[in-house]
């Protein structure tokens, strides 16, 4: 099965969800995403990093440098309180979208 690009507008939601469990660096996020979707989703790092920076600038994420598992310094992102609130909102929104789309598909 070919990989699908992350649907537009959901990248933030996915990042927030992944970081909600534990702080992680860019590479980790991208790996995690592949893992969770059994390689079904493909996130282009060229869009991942701008998204991370934007979210950091907006105060949804905070970052710190620490040594990674294999002793290399990496930038770890974690959710801030604003980010957590954002996650709740986005999740709710997504659930509604899902439901509505399902309604449409079944109704049609």
């Amino acid at each position: 099965m070919p990989k699908i690009d992350v649907p537009q507008g959901t990248l933030e939601l996915l990042i927030l969800t992944i970081l909600n469990r534990e702080p992680m660096h860019g590479h980790g996020i991208s790996q995690r995403l592949s893992q969770l979707t059994a390689n079904g989703f493909q996130v282009n790092p060229g869009s991942l990093f701008p998204a991370l920076y934007k979210m950091e600038q907006d105060g949804k994420l905070a970052a710190e440098w620490r040594a990674s598992d294999n002793n290399r310094n990496a930038k770890y992102y974690r959710l801030t309180r604003t980010g957590k609130k954002q996650l709740e909102r986005e999740r709710e929104r997504w659930n509604r979208v899902k439901m509505l789309i399902a309604n449409v598909l079944e109704g049609a």
Partner: protein, 906 residues
């Protein structure tokens, strides 16, 4: 909160950019490292793994660029870059920049100045607490002639109103009058406002020192003589001495205790503008306060918070009937009085002034439009000449958005430079305006300029609102008139533009756009010229109007005796002595007295008002249709001093005094209207004024004098010998052989030797008074003319610019034609013909527009039809001449083209 984070990140970018960039670099490197490690684990060779990892990132630098794009700070960088680049290109073409900046400065500056007038007169909230809840309440007086008119209140009627109403939270009376201040220092005639104690709390005004009136000080007649001073009077007369509180001062010879000083900003609501001091209504005696038919006071009221304006209005109408029943009009036949209430806001400006302000605002926005069109023209022309530069930038990778942004930044910079320069122009204009005070000057010392109008006129200034207005205009101008050229420039095809000579292909299409701009400019200039032309002609008519007096070499000043005892003979005797002494001064040809002077203005009341005239030998006309005459009390020498000609009969003499048979002199208009085809001399009339109600004999007819506004024809007037009905205020006139101003000190001295405590005030030559009467018209004329001149100059510059551009574009073609034998006249004719078409279309549109637009002027015009053909012919000629000249110059240059040079150019 997001904004806070963004600002933090912006600050980091600005101050610690190196670190931010390094971290981004490290992060991406670590990503590659980690990705590569994964791949090595999967069995890929290390070098290959690293290459694949980089590939996955789709370029480290590109990713960095994308990340940066989201950064505010980076956007700032781009902006700075644009600004630097823009600045360089603007300073490189300093002539071009200067023309645009000056054009914009003139357009925006004039607009800002007029806007601050509009803001003060029409927009800014009145400086009172919750001004939108304030209402002006009037009594309605049924009129003799047409619709009922709003009049002031008497105290008993006000009491009825106050005790029966439920819609107003509070209300206060006020009235302005002049009062003599005597005691230490020079006696002065001051403007006082007589108010209810509730006046200040109602308006939300507190004393800066001391207090305002207590309710107890305004409850019992003639008990509390207290006064509050204006900040101005306090500083001027008392040197801002705080110990003046508690001191007594003499007003109309009665001691008043000073209880407070009002803050500097406060200005009275009452007629005539800023008051010097305030006194409570109950300083008056109970008899005056008990007169139901003495309508003296204006009324302001604040509606209760839960009441709507319409509710208050209908409640007031009902109250009007209650008042009518409580105070029946028994003495007079007029019945059905009433009351009405309007938001105070409605009276903020005299309607005539409102109109001229709006006309000026309309005119000045035309000037701005023309400036903008010119700027757009210039920017378009420059955009075209920069096509190659832009094409090169595109070719080396600048995005279209980036180019548009760059060009927009440049035009915004121009607009903001223009806006900044315009502030100087606006500031200067406001300064001149405050010195000339064209609106206020039309109303002389104790003229009835409505208080609110005076207040709004006094608040004209360049404030933050005007600055915002300027900024908004500047930015709007920059965007709107920078966008079109920017889009046009960015649309160009790169390869086309890089090729020389391709411009000509587009010229046709391009010229159509610029042609429209020229047409618009000419049309706008036409409308402005038409307005100015009509006003000039109207002013000319006005200035050549015969006033009926000779205003040259006449000094005038007012004298008012303090209210108090004094028999009519004593009052007359005093004025007689003043006149005699002034007449005997060296250099004085004659002196006279009158209760009013020529061109008193729009509101003639009291001394110069009209009274009913009746004829004993004729049946009485029904009430409401009886004729009236303007009534003036004059001394015998008044006519000689003003050079008013005697047409029949005789003038007054010293024998026409108190106790002698009553006599009247009428003016020509009265003679013609009341005794057509008859000789009025010897006829009996009764004028409803003092003793003259009982009847008097007409002894003379004199020439007409315009006592009202200059543009109103003379009314029928009756002159009474002042000694038979002496007024307390008289105007003294002295005709001099030389400069009348030199008489001022002598007159002042004579009056003060006669009565040390009597102020003589409002010194003016009659020439000045005549000028005052036309100042508003002259001001409108000057401004409209200035705008029209600016408009025509700008339009000419615009046409010149467009035609030069067109000629430059066609140098090649012209060269070829000349090489083929065209003469230079042919070339000139061809270029001018092309311009003429635009000029004719613009003129036609302008003519149509002007015919519609100048209709708003019709009420401001005096004896000039807004469609006056003479004016329009003159304007067409001026405009066409200017436009043809502006297109002839580039045409002539084109005709001097040397074919051998132009053909070699490409």
């Amino acid at each position: 909160m997001i904004i806070f984070h963004r600002l933090k990140s912006l600050a980091r970018w600005v101050f610690r950019r190196g670190e931010v960039e390094r971290q981004l670099h490290d992060e991406l490197e670590s990503f590659i490292e980690l990705t590569a490690k994964d791949k090595i684990r999967d069995g890929v060779a290390p070098d290959e793994a690293r290459r694949l990892a980089r590939l996955e990132l789709r370029g480290v630098d590109q990713t960095k660029e994308r990340v940066r794009w989201y950064r505010w700070g980076a956007q700032l960088d781009v902006l700075l870059q644009d600004l630097r680049y823009g600045w360089r290109s603007l300073t490189n073409q300093s002539g071009f920049t200067a023309i645009i900046v000056v054009t914009l400065a003139v357009g925006i500056g004039a607009n800002t100045a007029v806007y601050s007038v509009v803001d003060a007169t029409l927009l800014r909230p009145l400086p009172f607490r919750d001004p939108d809840r304030l209402m002006a309440v009037f009594l309605m007086e049924p009129s003799f002639t047409g619709s009922p008119s709003r009049i002031a209140w008497s105290y008993p009627k006000y009491e009825t109103f106050r005790n029966n109403q439920q819609v107003f939270e509070d209300s206060a009376l006020y009235r302005t009058d002049l009062i003599n201040l005597t005691g230490d220092g020079e006696p002065e005639r001051l403007r006082m406002e007589e108010v209810s104690a509730g006046y200040f709390p109602l308006l939300g005004v507190e004393a800066q020192l001391g207090r305002t009136f207590l309710p107890a000080e305004d409850a019992i007649p003639e008990q509390s003589f207290v006064t509050i001073l204006s900040d101005r009077l306090w500083r001027r007369r008392f040197g801002a001495d705080p110990s003046v509180i508690g001191r007594t001062i003499d007003l109309d010879l009665k001691p008043y205790t000073v209880v407070g000083i009002l803050p500097a900003g406060f200005q009275a609501l009452g007629q005539g503008g800023p008051a010097d001091l305030w006194v409570p209504v109950h300083r008056l005696d109970s008899e005056t306060l008990g007169q139901p038919w003495q309508h003296n006071w204006s009324l302001v009221a604040r509606i209760k918070p839960d009441v709507r304006v319409e509710q208050a209005q209908s409640a007031t109408t009902v109250l009007g009937r209650v008042i009518d029943q409580a105070h029946p009009d028994s003495a007079n036949v007029r019945t059905s009085w009433g009351a009405t209430a309007e938001p105070l806001e409605e009276f903020r400006i005299d309607p005539a002034i409102r109109k001229s302000v709006l006309v000026l605002f309309g005119a000045v926005s035309f000037v701005l439009l023309i400036s903008c069109v010119n700027v757009a023209n210039l920017l378009l022309a420059r955009g075209n000449s920069r096509k190659r530069e832009i094409a090169i930038r595109c070719a080396i990778g600048a995005g279209r958005i980036r180019v548009i942004r760059q060009l927009l930044t440049e035009s915004l910079m121009l607009a903001i430079l223009g806006g900044a320069a315009s502030l100087a122009i606006a500031y200067a204009s406001i300064y001149v305006l405050s010195v000339v005070n064209p609106f206020g000057a039309a109303f002389t010392f104790d003229r009835r300029l409505p208080g609110l109008t005076s207040l709004t006129l006094n608040s004209i200034r360049l404030d933050s609102r005007a600055l915002l207005f300027t900024l908004a205009i500047a930015i709007a101008t920059g965007v709107v008139f920078g966008l079109a050229p920017a889009l046009q420039a960015a649309r160009g095809n790169v390869t086309d533009s890089l090729k020389r000579g391709s411009d000509q292909i587009r010229t046709r299409h391009f010229m159509a756009g610029k042609g429209i701009l020229v047409v618009v400019e000419i049309a706008l200039a036409f409308v402005l010229l038409a307005g100015a032309g009509l006003m000039i002609k109207s002013l000319d008519k006005l200035l050549s109007t015969r006033i009926g007096i000779d205003p040259n070499n006449v000094l005038s000043a007012r004298l008012t005796l303090a209210a108090g005892p004094g028999s009519p003979q004593a009052v007359a005797g005093f004025f007689d002595e003043v006149e005699r002494r002034v007449a005997s001064q060296p250099g004085v040809i004659s002196a006279g007295l009158s209760s009013c002077h020529a061109l008193e203005g729009r509101a003639l009341d009291g001394r110069c008002g009209e009274n009913i005239i009746r004829f004993p030998d004729r049946p009485k006309a029904p009430a409401g249709t009886e004729p009236t005459v303007g009534t003036l009390q004059v001394s015998p020498d008044y006519f000689k001093t003003m050079k008013i000609p005697l047409l029949r009969g005789r003038l007054f003499s010293s024998a026409d005094r108190w106790g002698a048979p009553l006599v009247v002199i009428v003016n020509e208009t009265a003679a013609r209207r009341f005794w057509p085809g008859e000789d009025p001399i010897g006829k009996r009339v009764s004028v409803w004024f003092a003793a003259f109600t009982r009847g008097a004999e007409v002894v003379g007819v004199v020439g007409d004098v315009r006592y009202g506004p200059m543009d109103r024809p003379p009314r029928p007037d009756a002159y009474l010998p002042y000694k038979q009905a002496p007024p307390r205020t008289m105007i003294l006139f002295g005709r001099t052989a030389g400069d009348p101003v030199s008489l001022v000190e002598a007159v002042r001295l004579q009056v003060s030797t006669l009565d040390h405590g009597l102020p003589i005030y409002d010194f003016k030559t009659m020439r000045q008074r005549v000028n005052d009467a036309t100042v508003r018209v002259r001001f409108n004329v000057i401004l409209l003319t200035a705008f029209a001149v600016i408009a025509i100059v700008l339009a000419a510059v615009g046409i010149y610019g467009v035609m030069s551009f067109a000629v430059r574009q066609r140098t090649n073609e012209i060269g070829i034609r000349m090489a083929l034998g065209a003469r230079s006249e042919d070339i000139v004719r061809q270029v001018v013909r092309q311009a003429s078409r635009l000029i004719l279309i613009g003129t036609a549109i302008g003519l149509a527009g002007a015919l519609v637009a100048t209709r708003v002027l019709s009420s401001a015009l005096y004896e000039v039809d807004p469609r006056d053909p003479q004016t329009y012919v003159a304007i067409v000629m001026i405009l066409v001449a200017a436009a043809l000249l502006a297109s002839y110059l580039p045409a002539r240059r084109a005709s001097r083209v040397d074919p051998s040079i132009t053909l070699r150019m490409d």
